[in-house]
Amino acid sequence: MGRYILRRLISVIPTLIGVTLVIFLFQRLIPGDPAVAMLGEHATTENVARIREQFGLDKPAFLDRDALAEGDLSGFFDSQYVRYFGRLLQFDLGDSIHRRIPIAETLQERFPATVELALLSMGLSLIIGIPIGILSSARRNSLLDGTTMVGSLVGVSVPIFWLGIMEIMLFAVILKWLPSGGRLSSGVVIEPITNLLLLDSLLTGNWAGFTDALKHIIMPAISLATIPTAIITRMTRSSMLDVLQEDYIRTASAKGLSERVVLFRHALKNAFLPVITIIGIQVGSLLAGAVLTETIFSWPGIGKWVYDSILGRDYPIVQGVTLLIAIIFMLVNLLVDLSYAILDPRITYE
């Protein structure tokens, strides 16, 4: 197992380099001079020169063959990409153009907000999706099953940003039950421990803070959870249906085990692998979906940050956050692969 983990981690490296290459190449997509594009048309030549130097835009993209022709071997490797990669190895994601502070610094503030939202949404979709999936597979072709199937199809078809807007329209604008955006009302203070507001307020026994944070998170969490819930429900159902046709299920029922035991002890255990896979993939969609959800609910996480940076043409932030999300996504999928061995003793990794 240990050797397998090591091998998988090593096999991630080429993909990771490819990912950095793709993100680096984004800059080449910018029409015209990237430095001018970053600063806007009215930038002073001085500022443009500063940006060019800061981002090494005066260097060649990959390798400097002119330096090599003059016999300068170290100059040969002094390029934009090599510098970019070198900085990444030191966990330096670069600086914001507008605020001129390291991206990693802002990330520390912003990331917990997204994590909190994503965790709650994932929790919601697991709590709703898996039981409903199991039930509708056990009562195949019942009314519940039909409703589940239609509901999950609608769930994957609904644009989550639209759902978010409609929620705001109904609960914030018309009914005025919930706040339309943000993480906390002004004036409410929660002592930061983990920066996950719900957790922090519970830890410090701050009940008023907890309800306020909950009121703020509930709408974004529901709209972000919609697609994962629908997909997890469908996957649980179809995977359970496959397993329920097996002989050992019939044997278990025949020997008089209760339906609950058959469903949960015999069927679910075996039906869970495809569900785990799909859960891993949904983590990616949660992180990406955060761009839309956070924008609508003014949620101060990394998604909203990316959106603001796109509008402000603060390209290093877009690059940095995209890279971070891609790395998280890859690690989650690695964990999913490893969890197979734990969940299913028949699978061993050598």
Binding site: E70, L153, W162, L292
Partner: protein, 410 residues
């Protein structure tokens, strides 16, 4: 006696049952499936209305402006206050939302179609070739081409460094030589590698020396590496691996985050959105096509075709492609739904269609800004249009899966 006649009739009927093709069978299964029919009707309605509106209902987005009719709630009947009918109401510029939703369909569906075509064309072909060459043995000609291509592309690096395109060609030739001399030092593979490595080093080093000593050194080292690699002609497995590793890189990004990032750098626009969504979708089809090819490539009919000596191209297009079409058609239908959703997301973020061009996502992004005015109709109808068109394609895709592959019914 009279009782047996009808039975006999039934039997004969059965025996001479009309010939029905696979596709006709699938079509019959499709139209007998209620949800699939609903999907088909929804999709057809959207397609017809969008195409019809584009060609027969003139609309000039740039001229559409009427401040007098700003933010009117849906008007179903002509009255004193509202002389015109607006069944979906009007937006903040007094534009009729119904009209813009119908015309927006043209843009949204077009983005979906073009994006899926891009992913399908590139991903499908890559996956097809990867799957086929992974399972089939390459013939001499194909192997020559493969090694030529590998030599050319690897050689491009030293060729670029020394600014001598000839190097790339020489490495390509070295690849060809490697294929055409299989018996040379066949049982002393280490020595063979060494010989090819030295050749590679000479190609890189000698031509590099003209530019400068350092260039010669670097090109020589790279050339040595390329030579070592080229010594052993590789099979199709390597091609497949290269393709799939590249796909893995694209798949490491959550799909539409990558599309958003690409468009963020390209700048907004409907065409750029199409390209971004299309590129992001490539790996899905590549993986699907590859695994479908691998699953049929050991079937009896393919082996039979191989054993009677049919060419690879013929086997691929006459025997394999027709048998893997169904999963690809299903995926493409579902992919359309996804592409429409992604396009709407881009439009919503202001990265898709450029205003005042009507597009569902952009209309939502626009109306979202004056949400507090309570104009629910400005956000409800474009959103419903997205939802129903996506739902339509999803239902149709589900139905198609059942119809085209009854065994896979879930």
């Amino acid at each position: 006696m009279t009782e047996t006649t009808p039975v006999l009739d039934d039997l004969t009927d059965f025996a001479v049952r009309e010939h029905r093709s696979l596709w006709l069978d699938a079509w019959r299964r499709l139209i007998s499936n209620r949800t699939a029919m609903i999907g088909l009707i929804v999709v057809t309605t959207f397609v017809l209305s969008a195409v019809g509106a584009h060609f027969f209902w003139k609309y000039d987005a740039k001229m559409d402006l009427d401040y007098g009719a700003k933010l009117l709630a849906p008007v179903l009947r002509v009255s004193e206050e509202s002389p015109e009918i607006h069944i979906f109401g009007t937006d903040k510029l007094g534009r009729d939302i119904f009209r813009r939703v119908v015309h927006g369909g043209w843009n949204s569906l077009r983005v979906g179609l073009v994006a899926v075509s891009i992913s399908l064309a590139i991903g499908g072909i890559l996956g097809l070739l990867a799957g086929f060459f992974e399972s089939a043995d390459l013939n001499r000609l194909e192997q020559t081409f493969l090694m030529l291509a590998i030599g050319l592309s690897l050689g491009a690096l030293p060729a670029w460094i020394s600014a001598q395109p000839i190097q790339s060609l020489l490495f390509g030739l070295l690849g060809v030589v490697s294929v055409s001399t299989p018996s040379f030092l066949a049982n002393k593979s280490r020595l063979r590698r060494l010989v090819f490595g030295i050749f590679g080093m000479l190609i890189g080093g000698f031509s590099g020396i003209i530019v400068g000593p350092m260039v010669a050194l670097v090109c020589g080292v790279i050339g040595l590496g390329i030579g070592l690699l080229l010594a052993k002609p590789v099979g199709g497995k390597v091609f497949s691996n290269i393709v799939m590793r590249i796909m893995d890189i694209i798949l490491s990004f959550p799909s539409y985050l990558l599309a958003i990032a690409i468009v963020a750098f390209l700048g907004p626009g409907l065409e750029k959105g199409m390209i971004a969504i299309g590129v992001v979708g490539i790996p899905v089809y590549a993986r699907l096509a590859r695994s479908a090819v691998l699953s049929v490539s050991q079937k009896e009919y393919v082996l039979a075709a191989q054993s009677v000596g049919e060419g690879h191209g013929r086997i691929l297009f006459k025997h394999i492609v027709p048998n893997i079409l169904s999963p690809i058609i299903v995926q493409a239908t579902m992919g359309l739904a996804n592409a429409i959703l992604s396009a709407a997301a881009l439009g919503f973020l202001g990265l898709g269609a450029i205003p005042p061009e009507p597009e569902w996502g952009a209309m939502l992004g626009d109306s979202y800004k004056y949400l507090s005015s309570g104009a629910w109709w400005a956000v409800l109808f474009p959103g419903l249009a997205i939802m129903f068109s996506v739902l339509g394609f999803n239902l149709l895709g589900d139905g198609l899966r059942d119809a085209l592959d009854p065994k896979m019914r879930v």
